[in-house]
Amino acid sequence: MTVLAQARGATRRFGAFTAVSAVDLAVARGEVVGLLGGNGAGKTTLIRMLLGLLRPNGGEIRLLGGPPSRAARRRVGYVPQTLGLYAGLTVAENWAFTTAAFGGPRAPLPERVAPWSRELVGGLSLGEQRQVAFAVVLSRQPELLVLDEPTSGVGPLGSARLWEDIRDAADRGAGVLVTTHNLEEARQCDRLVVMAGGRVAASGTAEDIIAAAGTAAAGRADLEEAFVAIVTKQAGATGRAGTDPVGPGSAAG
């Protein structure tokens, strides 16, 4: 199993505040790893460290076999929560810019978003914008996909389509790291990592998480119940803010 991205004991502090503390995480080829956590859990900081946009204060980060680098990022597809599209450009213009920036050959616009080619991105619905951002990233066939809240603000149909894309990418051999607040969607991941208070509070399959929370014994075999129990327990242990388990659609931690 080829590991594409790995954090070993990764720690990141901002002054006196520790956003991420001794986190271990690995994303292998062909698997979809879901990163769960409330606001301020440290998810986005961890992603930024994995991408090499933040240097860890402790531990080690490996991206595609080496320390994160510009060359490695060329093989990564990243869709931030803000999507990274230029609202004042058309879909085709955004596509042309990204293709040129990554130094790829001139390719036709992906079929799915071709009907909007002349539309300004700012004029599309959020769901359509997310489809465009996905299409742009997926067209490069990255080895690792990093998706920050990919279905935030998207309707059920759009979400289903995006998850189809995620699964297709993984089936083609890409590793996928996806953050989400939506615990129903999280079940579609091969593996879940629950973060709370900057630490990994639980990891494994959805069933592993539920078992670890001990909520099933109380007759509540629900991932959401398990998640809340784990995060609440972690908050009690660390006594730290940023373990708020709630907040669909809000900024990722």
Partner: protein, 357 residues
Amino acid sequence: MWAMVAKEFRELRRDRRTVAMMIVLPVLLLVVFGYAANFKVSDIPVVAVGPGASQAASLLRAPTFQVTETDAAGTEATARARLRDGQDVVAVVTGGSRPLVLMDGTQLFSVQTAEAALGRLARPPGVAAPRVRVLYNPDLTTSWVMVPGIAGMILVFIGTLITSLGVVRERQSGTLEQLAVMPLRAWDVIAGKIAPYLLLAAVDMVFIIAIGMGVFHVPFTGNVGVFAVGAALFLLVTTGMGVLISTVSQNQGQAIQLAFMTLLPQVLLSGLIFPVSAMAAGVRWISYLLPLTYFIEISRGVMLKSAPVSALWEPIGLLAVLAVVVLGLAIVRFRRDLAPSVRASGERPRTPEGASA
């Protein structure tokens, strides 16, 4: 209502930049500009040439005049060259039946002061009244002197403000983070970002100069190439300042505030309105840090005095140094935005997502 007032005060207390602008800045501006705002020129640099140079020099007293050189072997050509090259503002040519006083008409206030002082001068018996000739701007037309400077001022505004807004817009919309994960270097992003603004500013420059020549009849007597080199360097500095401002601004409002804070000193301290030589020494050094100061020297020199590149190497060289410094700082700061791995660990991330982390 009191709840609203209290709320405003609380918000204001945490908005240090606005508080600084409202309290510190006016005091600072009053002190600095109070010393800078001076139309009364002293120490006008004078060269005296010809056989009677020493005698002429002895008549031109401080504080109005400051004799920089007495050259008994010098001629009218020597004197004209020194005025063209900006070494002196007044030149006294002796040796003829009457002394000839040449003045640099691009230095409006200095010439007016010098003319008044010459009129009051007590001539020794037997010395004929001098002939006065104002060069480059014989009628002392204000627009001839102002237009080349105003062109620069407009481009400071456009170059700095518009560029800074363009980069801040990337940060606010979240696209800066996307740029960070692209295989682009900080320099690629900065060059790509400022190139269109640079081109537009250059087109603007052509329009402004053309309008100045067409509407205000300002002459363009010098070499277009020399002007173009100076203008290109000046525009590089102003757009670089825009990028630099954007790296310390979180939003467009802050960028506008900072851009205005750089614009105001340039208008008042660059020599556009008040002669640099008339400013108090304590604030004059600020003028020498401002790109507009050097652009004004170049534009007036080329347009009005046909100054060759050899006469303008100093302002051109200093603009080049400023361009390197400003763009260098902009790249260093911008690299921290693009790949914050080198950022000091005490700073919180600035992206919307990261802010909550």
